[in-house]
Symmetry: C2
Subunit: 311 residues, 2 copies
């Protein structure tokens, strides 16, 4: 885990080495549903515009990050849930991202940005530069507008030791509407993966061989994940849809491949199942801590067992 002096520390290496050190690929998604924040943290009606709402959400997320420290490698804040609180939400996103990074967690910003030319540059500067307001280690981006629109993110990531995860096959029921359309013999999502292959290869990190350009592949589509792994052998996969969305642990790690410390190949995201376990809806701090710690342990063990079963 030591950083070699005068060397660039690629996101691909930072991510995979951290997962090897921590021992599990769980990524916890920070999706602060306002109506689910436990009574313990509340100090008002939790309407998006009320300043007390951002304050309560901050206290909730800081306590959560404290419980995640040393347990997982990476968190994934979902920008939308912060944006709906307006500028106080953005301020909160800046604060909790910085706090998590100070605690040694990697921060993958789930903002799914996609725009052209200088606008894509402005988004890259919002998340992936050293003076970015929302300090992140990586960003989710959309490929739909074309490869030229991914360049500004890739450039910013290369200069600033960051990563990107490109949407390829998403976890929702309707993801097939366009992503599964057949271009000749291949689906659109496979075609996208083919075009990403040289870009991902070009961005492989020196120590682990894993790229700093990853893709998003829903745990709900494990067979499609396997075909994507064949196309992209050294590309980290962000695998949403595990947990509350219904993806099982074995499916979530289906695309993992053998590494020096066991199977590896990306991160498996769970949001609601960790943030809002049934017993966490309490105003007792000890009860809340226990409920969330149990939920973290449950997901970590579930994934570790699935990895141990792999062969």
């Amino acid at each position: 885990m030591e950083k070699i002096q005068n060397d660039v520390d690629f996101f691909g290496d930072k991510l995979i080495e951290k997962i090897r050190f921590i021992g599990n690929p769980l990524c916890v998604g920070l999706d602060p549903y306002l109506d689910k924040i436990p009574p313990l943290f509340r100090d008002g009606p939790m309407t998006p515009a009320d300043p007390r709402t951002a304050k309560a959400t901050k206290s909730f997320l800081i306590s959560l990050i404290d419980l995640l420290e040393h347990k997982i490698a990476i968190i994934k804040p979902q920008s939308a849930f912060f944006e709906r609180m307006g500028w106080r939400g953005t301020q909160l996103l800046e604060d909790i991202s910085s706090y998590a990074r100070e605690k040694g967690l990697l921060v993958l910003m789930d903002a799914k940005r996609g725009d052209i030319g200088s606008t894509a540059e402005a988004y890259a500067q919002s998340f992936l530069t050293k003076d970015a307001p929302v300090k992140s280690d990586a960003l989710t981006v959309s490929p739909f507008l074309g490869l030229d629109t991914l360049e500004p993110y890739i450039q910013a990531a290369k200069i600033n030791e960051k990563g990107i995860f490109v949407l390829v096959k998403t976890s929702n029921p309707g993801s097939g509407d366009f992503q599964d359309m057949l271009i000749g013999e291949k689906t659109l999502f496979e075609k996208i993966a083919e075009k990403l292959e040289p870009l991902s290869k070009n961005f492989e990190a020196p120590r682990t061989g894993w790229s700093s350009l990853g893709i998003v592949v829903g745990a709900t589509y494990p067979a499609q994940g396997e075909s994507l792994r064949e196309l992209l052998p050294h590309t980290p996969f962000l695998i949403p849809g595990y947990g509350a969305q219904g993806g099982a642990a074995d499916d979530a790690v289906r695309t993992f491949v053998r590494g020096p410390n066991g199977y590896e190949g990306g991160i498996v995201n769970s949001s609601r199942a960790i943030l809002f376990p049934d017993k966490g809806n309490t105003d007792n701090p000890k009860e809340w801590e226990m409920a969330v710690s149990d939920a973290i342990k449950h997901a970590v063990d579930d994934l570790k067992e699935a990895l141990a079963r792999k062969r």
Copy 2:
């Protein structure tokens, strides 16, 4: 322009009636490039994190909106340029959007959001509800994740008299990478348009017949625009790429069709050519005002002449 009491005022009607009243389809894109803000408004180094930067940008945009009042129907703030200033940028976006709406301008938020399920709902609540922090009349959204991911925006738009513009064929050079891929005999962008057709038809406004679900079609691809107009006869087109991006006025209005007051069918966006005319780079308020007013007049006349030439 009178609103019928107890009736819903659809975005499709609001947009087209306002354009008929104003007499031109120009949309001005608010893309505040920090390094281009004229000396007149500056009070510091214009680095994104400096509070003076958001303040200078606000003063620039407020003055600009004052010049746009009564001259055009709609503005299109580009979210990325605000986000890169962090929470002060979000606050600024909230302020200038509200200011523009008070001045009678429609606000189309160009945020190109696209996400699944409850996250898409959170984005809809960020822009398209009555208590949204960033008050907008319409929002640009991406279809890539599937039709189910558009539903939350459509629902919010229906309830709150808002509109959406779905990305279909974008103006950038690489837009063909995926959008032009052939699904059988048709391109992906045509396939998307076909799937949007019933949704757009379902959302047609009663007075003008124009839908509150529009699409984005770059002025740089006029032939593709024509084929999209055939598929979507009552869908407003947001046409970016006119002006600085190289699209000519005749191409920009190519998809317009005859209406009661002349040709109509959407909005044509110009950003940099209006915001940053050469002579506007000054510290003289009168000179700046003149330069920007000239740029507005030039674009308005250019489009009106193109519409008059149509037959």
